[in-house]
Amino acid sequence: MMSKNAPPPLAGVRIIDLTRLGYGAQATALCGALGAEVIRIESRTRPDPVRVMPPFVPQPGQATQTETGFAAAWTPELGFNRGGIFFKYNTGGKRSVALNLKEPRGLELLRRLIAKADVLTESFSAGALERMGLPWDGLRRIKADLVYVSMSGFGHTGRDRAHVTLGPTAQALTGLTYMLGLPGRRPAGWAFSYLDHMGGYLGAYAVMLGLRHRNRSGEGQHIDIAQIEPGIPLTGPIALDRQANDRAYRRTDTPPGNRSPEPSMAPHGVYKCSGDEEWIALACRDDTDWQRLRGAMGDPAWACAARFDSVAGRRQHEDGLDRGIETFTIAHERYALADRLAAAGVPAAPVQNARDRMERDPQLRARGYFVPLPHTETGTWPVERPPFRLSAGDVHAGGTIRRGPPCLGEDTHAVLRTLLGLSDDDIRSLEEAGALR
């Protein structure tokens, strides 16, 4: 093993981060985990919606909420530092600087910070930064080799650039909503914003590509991400099928639910286990897997029927196949059964919810997937680390400062002092002018 003491890959990179919500913020969280210094620019006059959205972080010593039903709405007493979802999106040791960009002096501070930055990120609607007085031409004059990554719904070019997205919008347009459901029924769609993740993750790729291009050529650029575009390749060969075979995907046999027409696999689904709302997912990749599963089930007579011997037969009789398998799984505890099937060589796994992932999953625990990080106001909480490791680079969910998500404006004074060389008097004057709200 090489030394873990090597600096992380993005050591020395400074990102001025205007992103909000989940899509943009996850790009810079990854950059922070890879060692970049990420400075969030926020304002109490217009807080990030996830700072004021339930669930809320309990105060130290306070019991966690247990009431069910509609989550309580935000109230001013909660402040801006207890939005729980904020914790998911703003790892990476991000700093927070409060600037009121409606105040000329606040906007001027942003310009001065950009002059000290390698990267500027934002996730406003297309044109919003321009309307604030920071068009790309102006940004380049502030910092000639700036890597500017904009993360809007539809991008800054094209006829629909004024359109807006949330994760569900982007999922609907790309086809990812349609692709999650049972044939003949309405789409069920994703229960969360998958494309806030995948769009955001591509944002981190964009930052790193932009940095490498700058390092090699000295040239900055405006990289323009439209949330829908990283989503479309995730739908696989469906657009090629339409062109090659004139086959539209909108038909009665799509989407396939959990089944796998291509590559042809059967069984391939989820089956009820012994407990309430407990399921096991299993897949037979080939006939060998099926023979292993049949053996693990004790070679019941129904499963030994010749029609199930080949994958074509199992696909043709999949309803009966699935019913037969469930008569077996329903009698078993899901984790024990998954272990037993895995030991027999059959891909099988319990369907895990959030509690299972945190309390039961032995793999996540052994690999330290949840990392405790201190939050200045509410104590230490577990957050998720990036799902990759570098052998010679210190990748950490808490960034180089090993800290949880920032409180709003927590680093304002420190950053203005160290980065811009402001004095206490300067800061006091800015505060009085309302520029640091």
Partner: protein
């Protein structure tokens, strides 16, 4: 204009779970060479196929994930093939190996430190179901079982009485591939400074866990677990297409005013205008849903999309992926990239850049490789001469003659 990754030579090997990573690198200029078995990569046997004729060079699945790459067919089950593969590694910057740890061990690809004795600059990327340690390291897995463990299936589906569902396509694999690209970029940027490679270890399981947005924080901070449910308000339009409209979290008073304006021409805004109706949040949301459902039934999906967006709402029709081939906005942005397949005399539009980077743009310079198409070329670049090529063919490490391309 040169690509930002045009100095990177990437060797890709293993099963289909890692192919999206190489595609994302190839589009920005990396020379990605796929090492495949003599009978072709497993993904060449995944349909649908061009004209529905199963053939290694006609898999549309393979095309989608391997456009822009080269391919060399080498039999790694024989010692000569493995030796050749390890010799190739000395000429590459990155190797991306995807599959079960045991399969990677069989080709001696797990120990990056040993590989770097011969090529100190080598970046060794493993994409495995569970990572390289932990109690589940060697468990067999597919995208379905990894999505089940990841947590999304527990909440995706029609409701508690219907089964947990995964999305078609391979979302766990693709997510892991995007993280693999982060690892590669981190390692490349580090190597640009230090001159040394390192290992990048990606767990598909962890990648699938990472994508569930608020579900982990909700459990951490409240102890609650969400039931399976459809997110947001989705209704059928007059033409039967489902439209994704508003998300409950974003129903504020400013939003409701604009919703009312949108519903007014159809006379559906009345019940929502009364401030008293807003007192009970749950009942008010139900009233909003009922009004939107009636509104959607009166208009086509595209009309609703345009009207909603004009009012500033993030609404959209639930399209199928292929319907985006007709989207004018995506064409304005040059998203669909034409790629010519000379053997078929046809051009196809491929999903293009994940983002627009004008100084180092996404480009596709090659159609997907035919089976073993670049074997001799790639070997020659590594200094394998004609005599040795014959020897390797005789030993069975390579196909005995050049592959025959389909016409």
């Amino acid at each position: 204009m040169s690509g930002v990754l045009d100095d990177l030579r990437v060797l890709e090997i293993g099963d289909a779970s890692g192919e999206y990573a190489g595609r994302l690198l190839a589009g920005f200029g990396a020379d990605v060479v796929k090492i495949e078995p003599l009978n072709g990569a497993p993904s060449r046997r995944i349909g649908p196929y061009y004209h529905d004729e199963p053939h290694p060079d006609r898999s549309l699945h393979f095309w989608h994930y391997n456009v822009g790459k080269r391919a060399a067919a080498v039999d790694l089950t024989c010692p000569e093939g493995r030796a050749l593969f390890h010799r190739l590694l000395q000429h590459f910057d990155v190797v991306i190996a995807a599959g079960a740890p045991a399969d990677l061990e069989a080709i001696e690809l797990i120990d990056g430190t040993a590989l770097r004795c011969k090529n100190p600059r080598l970046i060794v990327v493993t994409i495995t179901p569970f990572g390289l340690d932990g109690p589940w390291r060697n468990h067999p897995a597919t995208d379905l079982t990894l999505m089940a463990l990841g947590g999304s299936m527990a909440v995706c589906g029609y409701g508690p009485d219907d089964p947990p569902l995964t999305c078609a396509g391979w979302q766990a694999y693709q997510t892991a591939c995007v993280y693999a690209v982060h690892g590669v970029m981190g390692a490349v940027l580090a190597r640009d400074l230090t001159g040394r490679g390192q290992d990048v270890e990606v767990s598909i399981h962890e990648a699938a866990v990472s994508i569930t947005e608020w579900h982990i924080p909700q459990y951490v901070f409240t102890g609650l677990v969400s039931p399976r449910a459809v997110l947001g308000l989705q209704f059928p339009a007059r033409d039967g297409i489902i439209v994704s409209t508003i998300v409950a979290d974003f129903i504020g008073s400013d939003v409701i005013g604009r919703v009312c304006d949108l519903l007014a021409p159809d006379g559906l805004d009345g019940p929502l205008r009364d401030p008293a109706a807003r007192a009970d949040r749950r009942r008010f949301h139900a009233a909003v849903a009922a009004a939107l459902e009636r509104y959607c039934a009166l208009h086509t999906a595209d009309e609703i999309y345009r009207a909603g967006q004009a009012a500033g709402f993030p609404w959209a029709p639930c399209r199928t992926p292929d319907e985006n081939l007709d989207d004018a906005h995506l064409h304005d942005r040059g998203f669909w990239v034409p790629v010519y397949h000379p053997e078929l005399g046809r051009q196809f539009l491929y999903a293009g850049a994940p983002f627009s980077a004008p100084a180092c743009p996404w480009r596709v310079v090659r159609r997907p490789p035919l089976l073993g198409e670049h074997t001799a070329e790639v070997l020659a670049e590594a200094g394998v001469d004609g005599v040795e090529l014959q020897r390797l063919r005789a030993a069975g490490a390579l196909t005995s003659s050049e592959g025959v391309a389909i016409r």
